[in-house]
């Protein structure tokens, strides 16, 4: 039964690491998209002036 714990630990780690990486990717993609939108808007505004 002890061995089940090892299997569990390995699984937790593998999935934890993968999801953490995906989460980080998603978050930075979101912030970048927001930055991009804001930048485009400010460029648009200054062009209209």
């Amino acid at each position: 039964m002890d061995n089940l714990g090892f299997l569990f630990a390995a699984n937790v780690f593998v999935w934890g690491a993968i999801f953490f990486y995906v989460f980080r990717l998603g978050r930075s993609a979101n912030t970048l998209k927001k930055d991009l939108e804001a930048l485009k808007e400010s460029l648009h505004k200054s062009a209209n002036k």
Binding site: F6, L7, A17, L32
Partner: protein, 234 residues
């Protein structure tokens, strides 16, 4: 691999990966019989070996893209090499963590200085150094060139490291999954099947992550470009 193409591909690739992982998980936990001598813990193998494969594959891609970068000097290849190195280090870390968790109940110790373990550890160190080099250098053509050189130098070292650690410690028991006879020799067909499904799922995951990472880098480039335009437009 341009922008629109990626957006079209993404849902397809995403669903394919999800389906492959569902199949892999089913195969690993329900379909495959428990290994007689090692017990349930042997199921770690279905994550361990695919991770190792992806790590190695990713580092090979770094090597290829580094050569292509030095040859063509196109930013594209630098992005690919960098994304692949990051994902490779992620999966290499998975190998290094799942390995000891598997070894503890079977071999009785967390770590043995077995050839395969040792070379994986060194590989991990090489590519962590590669990523550190990228962090410590300002973005620009110099960073890309230096990283490419390290990407090439690092990959060429792999076979030499392999032989050196193999001759260094020949007396340890060979892990049975991959023997000299080739992948899966001495394994039940159902096990080979589950391993193959898992390998497919991990490979798809690699491409999915690559796509995301490359997109992020291109977004950064786009922002830089717009900032630059903004700077010079007056």
């Amino acid at each position: 691999m341009n922008g629109e193409n990626n957006d079209d591909n993404k849902p397809v690739l995403l669903w394919l990966t999800a389906a492959a992982f569902a199949a892999a998980l089913y195969a690993i936990f329900f379909y495959v019989p428990t290994e007689r001598t090692e017990g349930v813990v042997q199921r770690i193998m279905y994550f361990h070996i695919p991770s190792a494969w992806i790590a190695f594959f990713a580092f090979f891609i770094v090597f290829l893209c580094s050569i292509l970068f030095l040859w063509k000097k196109e930013r594209e290849w630098d992005i690919y090499a960098m994304a692949s190195a990051e994902i490779g280090v992620l999966f290499c870390s998975l190998v290094l963590v799942t390995g000891p968790i598997w070894a503890k109940p079977i071999w009785g110790t967390w770590w043995v200085w077995d050839a395969r373990l040792t070379s994986t550890l060194i590989l991990w160190l090489i590519y962590v150094a590669y990523l550190m080099l990228r962090i410590h250098t300002d973005p620009g053509s110099m960073r890309a060139r230096y990283a490419a050189v390290v990407g090439i130098v690092g990959f060429l070292d792999i076979p030499i490291i392999h032989f050196s650690v193999l001759w260094w410690r020949t007396f340890h028991p060979q892990p049975k999954m991959i023997s000299a006879q080739g992948l899966g020799a001495g394994m039940a067909p159902s096990m080979v099947g589950a391993l193959l499904i898992s390998l497919t799922a991990f490979t798809l995951l690699y491409f999915l992550l690559m796509g995301q990472r490359i997109n992020i880098e291109k977004l950064k480039d786009e922002i830089d470009r717009l900032k630059k335009e903004n700077l010079y437009s007056h």
